[in-house]
């Protein structure tokens, strides 16, 4: 398994509240579309989730204050509990004798959009790939602007390709001065269009270009800094005035760092890190995470007020989730995959029992306004393939536009719900594909932990199971757990300040919706023929054999709090994790779940019938099998 470094999220510098004495906590997660607030309290000596409230996030005018949405979500909890938590626009703290107020307030944030990063300098394909890996676990999106001198030089050697550019060969492969001037103009325009929060300068000043690409990058930044100030409507910036919108991370040749600082001449802040390489990904990721905090999160309207309520510095939701996923993997000694499908971001994180960690935060992909990006990337047919009814492209496009213009829309009819769930599948598929791009040997997973509104609010557990099986396409044996409370994204942040409440709430409330164990045979499944015979021996002694045919899904009754011993007899060409035709018997009893024991014998990779009527019939059949 490949191991990718991941920047640790900085934890709170403020520790005004005493976590040991906290008997009640309010935990807020400010997403791009909705803000969720949860109340934790002590019940018979154990921390439990007492109530939840949800309200639209309010970072856009007219509210223009993130705390407004938090207060509205808290108002829902006040309505449910009859307690008061807000007074004169502030959180009442500590908790009073009459039950009003809380001892601790903690916040995580994914609102505000991603860090827009532009990579400059001698950007080769390999450096671009490394830069992409550096931002893997961050709310960030990246564009590349290779220096004109670098492009011009490489144009003479057509076997080399510049990142983000088609191979450009002019007359004899040499760029004219006019061509270079045009490229300069194009690049400055492009930089202004992108409105980046951060620029990453890369390149080792090696022949044939030498330090010229670094020089180009600096000149571009100096010119662009002027324009960025202008677009923000600020007064004309005096020379030497630092641009507050964009920061520079220098990960190029170390010997030129001072020269770069001199050239940029205070137009933007410059931070130096080790040159971009596989070894420096962690430090560069950490530095970019800090820039995301400084240039995006800290600038959210109302952020200072939110911070003033909190016992710890609010951190990015992905950072919080990563802490929890790694904790669970080590605690239970298993490979854990966490899925969080939000309105504009989809996150997939895989943590291994030996400390491996692969995070992918896919900014811009989601089931709110992020549907637009999905549609643009995959096309409407890939959405339609998951629907058990015929749909026209126009209807899907209208649906997407409605979610872009009204991000708080929730599907009230089943058609809308199924379209949203189809988008959720594609959001997960795109994110897993991004992960596989850099981790070709995709490790097996023992536990899939799913959260995010579209999964957590699924009216039926079978619907959540179907989305996960369709999109993740796990193999062998795995378990599905649904976080209906949407707490797992916040518990990492809670754990860093108050570990006991985090562990207890996690076990008591967050990961309690166990959908079930899944057996997924793969290999040479032959349609219509036996894929696997499943032998089940319930803990009460009852025995049962189920034959599962290739192309079908079966659910064997095994409810919550029930256990059974499982024996799998795959067909000779079919694999259940131990090799083709190898029988498998579980060493320990498996647990039941809200759906039951799921046998997904549809084959891997999952291929949907090409015929529309047949495809729709199959989708309905599979959904019925899962009770979806």
């Amino acid at each position: 398994m490949s191991i990718y470094p991941y920047p640790e999220g900085g934890q709170g510098k403020l520790q005004q509240q005493n976590p040991a004495a906290a008997s009640s906590l309010l935990v807020a997660d400010c997403g791009s579309v909705f803000t969720k607030v949860s109340l934790f309290g002590l019940v018979e000596g154990q921390y439990r989730l007492m109530a939840r409230g949800e309200a639209p996030t309010t970072i856009a005018p007219p509210q223009d204050d993130i705390t407004t949405g938090v207060i509205q979500a808290i108002n829902v909890i006040e309505f449910i509990t009859g307690r008061r938590f807000v007074e004169d626009g502030r959180i009442i703290s500590p908790e009073r004798a009459n039950g009003h107020g809380v001892d601790m307030f903690i916040a995580t944030l994914s609102a505000g959009g991603p860090l827009r990063l532009v990579v400059l300098g001698a950007v080769s394909n390999s450096l671009q790939t490394l830069a992409e890996q550096a931002i893997f676990g961050l709310y960030a999106e990246m564009d590349t602007i290779a220096a004109p001198s670098y492009q011009a030089t490489l144009a003479k050697t057509p076997e080399q390709v510049v990142a983000g550019q088609p191979a450009t060969v002019g007359n004899n492969g040499v760029w004219s001065q006019d061509r270079i001037a045009l490229e300069w103009e194009r690049q400055i325009n492009r930089f202004l269009e992108l409105q980046p929060h951060a620029a990453l300068i890369v390149g080792m000043a090696e022949p044939p270009t030498g330090p010229l690409p670094l020089q180009d990058a600096c000149q571009l930044l100096v010119k662009a800094a002027h324009g960025l100030n202008g677009q923000n409507g600020a007064s004309m910036a005096a020379p030497g005035t630092s641009n507050e919108q964009c920061s520079v991370l220098y990960a190029g040749a170390p010997q030129y760092v001072e020269a770069v600082r001199r050239m940029i001449n205070g137009a933007m802040d410059v931070t130096r890190v080790d040159p971009l390489s596989p070894q420096s990904l962690s430090s560069i990721g950490t530095a970019l995470g800090t820039m995301h905090e400084r240039n995006v999160i800290n600038r959210l309207p109302g952020y200072e007020r939110l911070q003033s309520w909190s016992g710890s510095t609010p951190i990015a939701t992905a950072t919080s989730l990563s802490s929890l996923v790694r904790f669970l993997a080590q605690h239970y000694a298993m490979n854990v995959t966490a899925i969080d499908v939000g309105g504009t971001t989809t996150t997939v994180m895989l943590a291994g029992e030996r400390g491996e960690f692969i995070p992918v935060v896919n900014s811009g992909i989601g089931v709110g306004p992020g549907m637009a990006e999905i549609l643009q990337q995959v096309g409407w047919q890939r959405i339609a393939r998951w629907l058990p009814f015929t749909i026209a492209e126009d209807e899907i496009r209208q649906f997407v536009l409605n979610h872009m213009l009204h991000p708080h829309t929730i599907p009230t009819d089943s058609r809308g719900l199924q379209i949203s769930q189809a988008f959720a599948r594609e959001a997960i598929i795109l994110t897993v594909d991004a992960m596989k791009k850099y981790t070709p040997q995709w490790p097996g997973t023992d536990l899939v932990l799913a959260t995010g509104g579209i999964l957590a609010h699924s009216p039926k557990y079978g619907q959540a199971a179907m989305m996960l099986l369709d999109a993740l396409q796990p193999r062998g044996v795995t378990s599905l757990v649904l976080d209906r409370t949407q707490l797992i994204t916040q518990l990492g942040a809670v754990a860093s300040v108050a570990p006991v409440p985090a562990v207890q709430v996690n076990e008591n409330d967050a990961v309690t919706h166990r959908i079930g164990t899944c057996v997924i045979p793969f290999g040479g499944l032959q349609p219509g023929k036996l894929a696997v015979r499943v032998g089940i021996e319930y803990s009460n002694g009852r025995q049962m054999n189920v034959d599962v045919m290739a192309g079908s899904i079966e659910v064997v009754p095994l409810r919550v709090n029930e256990q059974a011993l499982l024996t799998l007899f795959p067909a000779p060409t079919v694999d259940v994790g131990l090799g083709p035709g190898e029988r498998a018997r579980a060493a320990e009893e498996i647990d039941g779940g809200l759906v039951g024991l799921i046998i997904d014998a549809r084959g891997r990779p999952l291929v949907l019938p090409a015929n529309e009527a047949e495809r729709q019939a199959r989708l309905l059949q599979w959904a019925q099998a899962l009770g979806a």
């Binding site: 856009a60 269009e193 202008g230 677009q231 829309t409 929730i410 009230t412």
Partner: protein
């Protein structure tokens, strides 16, 4: 550049807007200085274009028509080069009455003004200034109501047309051929809008590069107060717009979801009203009993009603989703149960 307000109408507030044409291939020189008072028809920016008209940034005949049609002084046609010349010059009128408070680094002029603002759900096109005029069909209907004389109406070139109802492709084509600079209407079908703009609307409003992409559109700026479909314009929006017929306004159609930009129409208040120094009116967006709201999604999208009950517990909807909900009493007397996240205040 627009600054989203999240509300359909703000009758009066002090705002600052940058007068700027958009795009990056423009050389501009301010014709005013910070602290100077400007009139809506007063040229405030001199724009020079390099390149050809297919860049979408060249001088538009509609704008010239608007400048020449303005009644007051201070607005002049620039020393335009002959047609077909590579370099072109334009003088942009302020569009707003107020005080210049800043000149941005790219040369835009920031004007502070006491204004009425209408925000659209969706739109397209760059910032333009023009005289607000009611679409002749509606103007005729209005005159008929007031029993005034019937005269044949033409669409005034350089104007911002107000259509208090849905638009269609034919009306947009008519507007373009008449030389207007902008249209404010309630709604339009997705098919007609994309047909007119000749672009993929999702791509347009999801673009990272909103300024450049807007500059490549058909040269007519659009603002739709209710969005896509065939929704009527709420009466209070219509009243505000018709009340300002003949005034000069600044219209931006830019819609960029990633950047949180939405179209808006800014109308500087008449001198008399502005001098009153009235406090800014911020409509209440809180959902409460008796509040008039509009359904923003689902099967009943566009329905308008009054909240008459908040449910204590989440309600189950046909999709099976449970959500906090309200009961609405619609204008036709029927009742509707809707998730609270699916309604927005509209009065």
């Amino acid at each position: 550049m627009t600054y989203p307000l999240g509300l359909p109408v703000i009758p009066q507030m002090l705002v600052r807007r940058e007068r700027w044409l958009g795009g990056y291939k423009v050389q501009s020189s301010p014709l005013v200085y910070p602290g100077q008072e400007v009139l809506p028809d007063q040229p405030v920016l001199r724009i020079e274009y390099e390149g050809q008209r297919d860049q979408g940034l060249a001088f538009e005949p509609q704008q010239a028509a608007f400048l020449s049609s303005l009644p007051s002084t201070g607005s002049e046609r620039s020393d335009l080069p002959p047609a077909g010349s590579a370099s072109k010059v334009e003088r942009l009128p302020a569009g707003l009455r107020g005080r210049v408070v800043d000149i941005t680094a790219r040369g835009g002029v920031v004007i502070e003004t006491q204004a009425a603002i209408v925000q659209g759900m969706i739109g397209a096109g760059r910032q333009v200034a023009g005289v607000m005029a009611l679409w002749p069909h509606y103007a005729s209907a209005q005159r008929a109501q007031t029993q005034s004389a019937q005269r044949p109406q033409v669409i005034p070139p350089g104007a911002i047309l107000i259509v208090p109802g849905p638009l269609d492709f034919h009306m947009l084509s008519q507007a373009v051929h008449s030389g207007v600079v902008g249209v404010v209407a309630s709604s339009i079908s997705l098919h007609d809008l994309e047909g007119f703009l000749r672009t993929d609307l999702i791509q347009l409003i999801n673009s990272k590069d909103s300024e450049q992409i807007q500059a490549q559109l058909t040269p007519l700026t659009l603002l739709l107060t209710e969005g896509l479909g065939t929704f009527a314009m709420p009466a209070h929006v219509t009243d505000l717009l018709t009340g300002y017929q003949g005034s000069i306004a600044l219209l931006s159609g830019t819609t960029a979801v990633r950047q949180g930009l939405f179209p808006e129409l800014v109308i500087s208040l008449p001198v008399k009203e502005a001098q009153k120094e009235l406090p800014a009116l911020h409509p209440d967006v809180t959902l409460r009993l008796g509040a008039r709201v509009r359904v923003s999604g689902g099967e009943c999208e566009g329905a308008i009603g009054v909240i008459d009950h908040f449910f204590l517990y989440p309600q189950v909807f046909p999709s099976g989703i449970r959500a906090r909900a309200v009961r609405l009493k619609l204008e036709n007397g029927t009742v509707l149960i809707v998730p609270t996240t699916l309604i927005e205040r509209c009065g």
